[in-house]
């Protein structure tokens, strides 16, 4: 009995698959383009989503690998928060009873003179104590044929300066061999190093970038002028000693500004720093999935209309509603799987490109990272496929419902339009409710909700306006009717607009959403750019700026030699030189920076609440400080509060006398005068110089003199005021480049939607068209009517889209920037860019209607009329 039931089930399953195969294949053969479009739309969503996830994941892996290189085997590490770590402490740490092994580490960053854009992270290690911590060392004999060569290597390594151990990949790339010289720039000066040994990088984590080299710690101290300084001490504990006990016991023996922490916490810091950036990228990638949903909706809706006869036949021969719905959903799922099959490899390919972009943006704005290769976590691939299938099902849901609810008798009769004006009433109140919710959440995101909620509010905004589109169309229809009363075709177009609301509103909504996104992002980016421009006017006032060129490319790792300042000030025409120094406070939870500013002319930081007194320089008095806006937001600090900064002798407290705008940073900075800094830190170094010239002095001459003396091989970046602003904009534009891509995709997709929808409409209205033709309308008139309808959709969408876009811009500008990065961006409406939008959108929409219009025009009126 059971076997019979199972047998029956198997047979029925088999039949079902046979039916599905017929169902899909027949349609695909007849309309291969639609099939391809289905596959492509899911493939796009899957590819973009996967690419972003892979890029994010690869960047994480790269960071972890670079941290692992130094502390992969450590249980604890020691590092200084603000001042240097004196190497005298290493001995005490090494002899501590809990410590089984300890090793000192020094890091330096060098740029390669002959290969601009490349850098080398040089790790100074102590071969005597490093072995338990690292797999790569100069004495690593495994796999080396000549033991004698190795002995000579270690000898030279310890005896001579400038000896580097590099990876085999790096050596290959630059055609280096043992003994080759390598010209590098460190701290704005050129030096020649020598390759002492080459080791295969295959022994390390795959994600490790090959842009690192090892040098003996003593010689690296000499090379960077940092003798008696360390960057960290790595520790392995004796068995049976708890990490927490060791941590507090070590902490007691060390100065107050030395942090003892586990390496896990360090990579946690990196995660926190990048969280905002990552979330934004993921949100962008979700957009591509939504695009997929929309496209599938359109194609399935179109195919439902095309296959009315087929559906009618199925239903008439006994197929249930569920079966019909199921068939359409399964078809969508099938296309989704095919789309995923294409999308996953495409995504991985795309990720390679994206990884480079992501890593350069992160390097420029946050932390230096080089992502050596893309890592696709299988989990992300599964997620991407799942999203793809979900998107397809979501898109196909409504049309498949329509298909299921078709009356079989009606379906079998061709050319009877579906008139579903029912039950739209709920849309308008739902839309309004959505807008209210959006506003509430946006307000919430500024006052305590996690920043991620801003995307929810953006989504609610779009949904709200989409739901309001039918009402909007109806509203527009009335004045349009009045305007178009004269011409019959136009009047017909407007009439059709409202009568086919069920189809047109969906299309219009999609077009509206695309336009809204385009408008919103354009306004946000322009506002940002204008704000930065204004800000630069206030802050970038010196005539010439000098810094080590490495800092521009790989971050603030190099210092400017005091000789540069002395020389510059000695030149005729130079009236003053301000210096700037950034000290990263590597606080265990939320790292921030100290901005040390020297020079009376640097009192022009743009305050949130202007105060003449503070601007005049009272913030430079002992015990006072300014904080930038991101700091204010991240740490919840207001004017009048006190902040405590860890210094070598203990915490130093400053009174916050003002908050200033700062768009160059999103982690938080405290600005203090150089005098305040020197009082508590014994560190005369600085990162950059700003020179002021007497009026009439030729800036070019001064810059040339500096270049000739200190930068023959480009060791320094020397900018005149205008050049620096230009450079800032270059970086700005580069960072926002991806949004332009988005805009283009959005429009292209919406236009495709129009095309499909109108084609569908033509089919639905075959009878009407036939009647029109029969009573004397010419082909041209019929065609024109369709184009006009398309144009009206375009016009309505554009107008609603602009309004929605303005709302989106407000959220993006005021809420997202503030919530995620702590920036106040001034709203700026680029009228010149916005005003033409309705015009060209209408035009494009009308053009999109050309093909359906032709289709309509060529319809033979006779067959539908016979069915009348």
């Amino acid at each position: 009995m059971a076997r019979a039931i199972v047998g029956k089930r198997v047979v029925s399953l088999f039949c079902h698959f046979a039916l599905l195969r017929q169902f899909v294949w027949r349609h695909a053969r007849l309309h291969p383009l639609i099939a391809l479009l289905n596959i492509a739309s899911i493939a796009l969503g899957v590819a973009v989503y996967l690419a972003v996830q892979v890029a994010n994941h690869s960047a994480t892996r790269a960071f972890e690998a670079s941290i692992d290189l130094v502390s992969g085997k450590s249980q604890l590490e020691l590092y200084p928060t603000s001042g240097p770590l004196d190497d005298v402490f290493f001995h005490d740490v090494n002899s501590h009873p809990s410590v089984a092994a300890a090793t000192p580490i020094l890091e330096a960053y060098a740029t390669l003179s002959d290969h601009p854009g490349e850098y080398l992270r040089i790790l100074g290690i102590d071969v005597f104590t490093n072995a338990p911590f690292q797999t790569l060392s100069p004495g690593d004999v495994a796999g080396v044929e000549s033991a004698a060569t190795d002995k000579a290597t270690v000898f030279k390594w310890l005896a001579s300066p400038g000896q580097l151990l590099i990876t085999d990949r790096f050596a290959e790339r630059h055609r280096l061999s043992v003994g080759s010289p390598l010209m590098v720039q460190i701290n704005g000066a050129s030096t020649a190093l020598e390759i002492a040994a080459i080791r295969p990088v295959s022994e390390l984590d795959e994600a490790t970038s090959d842009r690192f080299a090892l040098m003996d710690i003593g010689w690296l101290q000499e090379l960077t002028g940092r003798s008696s300084e360390l960057d960290s001490i790595q520790i392995i504990l004796e068995e049976g000693h708890s990490i927490d006990a060791a941590r507090s016991s070590l902490g007691e023996a060390l100065p107050p500004d030395i942090v003892v922490t586990t390496p896990v916490q360090r990579s946690g810091q990196v995660e926190t720093m990048l969280r905002g950036f990552r979330l934004n990228l993921t949100a962008l990638s979700m957009v591509s999935i939504l695009v997929g949903v929309f496209l599938i909706y359109n194609t399935v809706a179109a195919s439902v209309v095309r296959r009315r006869t087929e559906i009618g036949t199925l239903r008439a021969t006994g197929a249930s509603r569920g079966l019909v719905r199921g068939l359409f959903l399964e078809e969508a799922a099938l296309y989704a799987c095919l789309g995923a099959l294409v999308g996953v490899p495409a995504g991985i390919l795309l990720s390679r490109f994206l990884v480079t972009q992501v890593s350069s943006v992160i390097s420029v704005h946050y932390l230096l990272v080089h992502v050596a290769r893309a890592f696709a976590d299988p989990l992300h691939v599964i997620q991407a496929i799942a999203y793809g299938v979900a998107a397809a099902l979501a898109g196909a849901w409504i049309p498949s419902g329509e298909a299921a609810s078709l009356d079989p008798a009606n379906a079998l009769r061709p050319a009877s339009g579906a008139q579903q004006a029912a039950a739209w009433r709920w849309r308008t109140p739902a839309g309004l409710a959505s807008l209210v919710a959006c506003a509430a959440i946006a307000w919430g995101a500024l006052h305590g909700l996690p920043p991620g909620w801003t995307f929810v509010s953006c989504f609610l905004l779009m949904v709200g306006f989409s739901l309001l589109v039918p009402s909007a169309i109806r509203l527009f229809a009335r004045p349009l009717e009045l305007v178009m009363r004269g011409k019959a075709e136009l009047a017909l177009a407007v009439d059709n607009l409202t009568r086919s609301l069920h189809r047109n509103s969906m299309t219009a909504a999609a077009l509206m959403a695309s336009i809204a996104m385009m408008v919103g992002v354009t306004i946000m980016v322009r506002s940002f750019r204008e704000t930065v421009d204004l800000w630069m006017h206030r802050t970038i006032v010196a005539d010439i700026f000098v810094a080590p060129s490495a800092n521009e490319r790989i971050g603030m790792h190099s210092f400017l030699s005091p000789a540069v300042r002395d020389f510059a000030l000695s030149l005729p025409g130079v009236t003053a030189g301000d210096s700037y120094r950034e000290v990263v406070i590597a606080n265990a939870e939320k790292p921030y920076a100290l901005a040390v500013i020297a020079g009376p002319a640097r009192d022009n930081l743009p305050l949130l609440r202007p105060s003449a007194e503070v601007s005049a320089g009272s913030w430079q008095e002992p015990g006072k400080a300014l904080v930038n806006q991101p700091y204010q937001r991240r740490f919840g600090v207001e004017v009048g509060d006190r902040v405590a900064v860890p210094a070598p002798e203990g915490e130093v407290s400053f009174e916050v006398v003002g908050v200033y705008h700062d768009y160059a940073d999103d982690q938080g900075q405290i600005a203090i005068s150089r005098e305040n800094f020197d009082a508590h830190w014994k560190d005369p170094r600085y990162h950059s110089l700003a020179l002021y010239l007497k009026p009439g002095t030729d800036a070019q001459e001064i810059m040339e003199a500096l270049r000739a003396r200190f930068s023959p091989a480009g060791e320094l970046s020397i900018y005149a005021n205008a050049q620096l602003r230009q450079r800032v904009f270059e970086i700005f534009d580069q960072t926002f480049a991806i949004t332009y891509v988005l805009k283009t995709i959005a429009i292209a997709v919406a236009v495709a939607g129009i095309l499909l929808t109108l084609t569908t409409l033509v089919r639905e209205r075959l009878r009407e068209i036939a009647v029109l033709r029969a009573i004397g309308a010419s082909r041209a008139q019929v065609a024109f009517s369709f184009m006009a309808e398309a144009g009206c959709i375009g016009l309505c969408s554009a107008l609603v889209g602009i309004v929605c876009g303005l709302g989106l811009a407000v959220i993006l500008t005021h809420v997202v920037n503030l919530a995620f990065f702590g920036w106040t961006v001034r709203f700026f409406l680029p009228w010149a860019e916005l005003l033409p939008i309705p015009i060209w959108v209408t035009a494009i929409a009308a053009l999109a209607g050309v093909i359906p219009a032709r289709l309509a025009a060529q319809t033979d009126p006779a067959p539908p009329l016979r069915e009348l």
Binding site: V88, H91, A131, K151, K156, Q221
Partner: protein, 368 residues
Amino acid sequence: MASHRAAAFGLLLFCILPSFFALAQWKTAKPGKNYQFPADHHTHPDFQTEWWYFTGNLRASEDGHELGYQITWFRQGIRPPGDRAEVQSRFVIDHLHFVHLAVSDVRRKAHHFEQIAHRGAYGEAGTGAAPAGQQPLVWVDPCRLTLKEDGSFHIVAKNSDGTLALDLRLRPTRAPVFNGVGGLSQKAPGEGNGSHYYSLTRMETTGEVRVDGRSYSQVTGLSWFDREWSTSALGDGQVGWDWFALNLSDGADLMLYQLRRDDGTRSPFSSGTLRKPDGTIIHLPSEAYQLQPGRTWKSQDTGGHYPVEWKITLPEHALDVTVSAAFDAQEMALFPVTYWEGAVRVEGSHSGEGYMELTGYAGEVPLH
């Protein structure tokens, strides 16, 4: 843990082998050296390689328990004299220091050993300048060698987990014996390929020894102190050497070594020194003695086959003895250099005791 601290110091010992490029800048051993004491007990930093090498046979006074010990401080030059530019960093070192420590428990046939090396960036290894007594002669914490004002030596040494310890006072009973000819012990052909080499052959030793956690608070015996410094290259084809330091019961002291070549023959630069009971010092060129290896012992740890019994004949001096290891397993299985060094007993025409060193039987190129 000891393993962590001791892990892979070996790679540094590769530095022991002088690298050819630097040879030219170090001082080389030349004939005609006039040894001055106590100055020459101290370090000679212009030479590349140097050691302070102690071996001895001791007995616990309580129960006659027999022990042997070896402790050697090595100095290997890193920065040659001409190339010592001023540096600020404490990590840049001129010399590499490390120590080998071993104690043999004869009754239990147990051998315990360790190798310790330090960078010296924090003063945890180094050599002391004259005058004696102010600073140790040489130290690699926690092993220190101090020269007292009365000319005796004080050794204080421990291994990293404290299971081995030495606290010995050594009093020389004889004047130093100079090995080689004219103050130069030639090891290979060519000028400069030799060393300055002297021995304090018979030192009365008292003190305390701890082995495997057991302490022997009163031990006495005799120690042999070998001092050598050089800047020389290994001769072509030399695979190892066998070295003997014997205190004979009639009061004679005998030092012999042979450098073995890869073709199985003995290098003509092998030599020895005999100090007769009456104090005469006789240089023994290679022809003057025969060394016949006997029974071999195979090491489980390294697979090396060491001849632990030898027949030594000095025809001209009526010496015909068998030298055998007090027990077989006295191998120093260290990375990267493995060698056998242990207490031996002498029988035959003369009796006595001493130490024997066998290198080059377990793969790696030996120390020079």
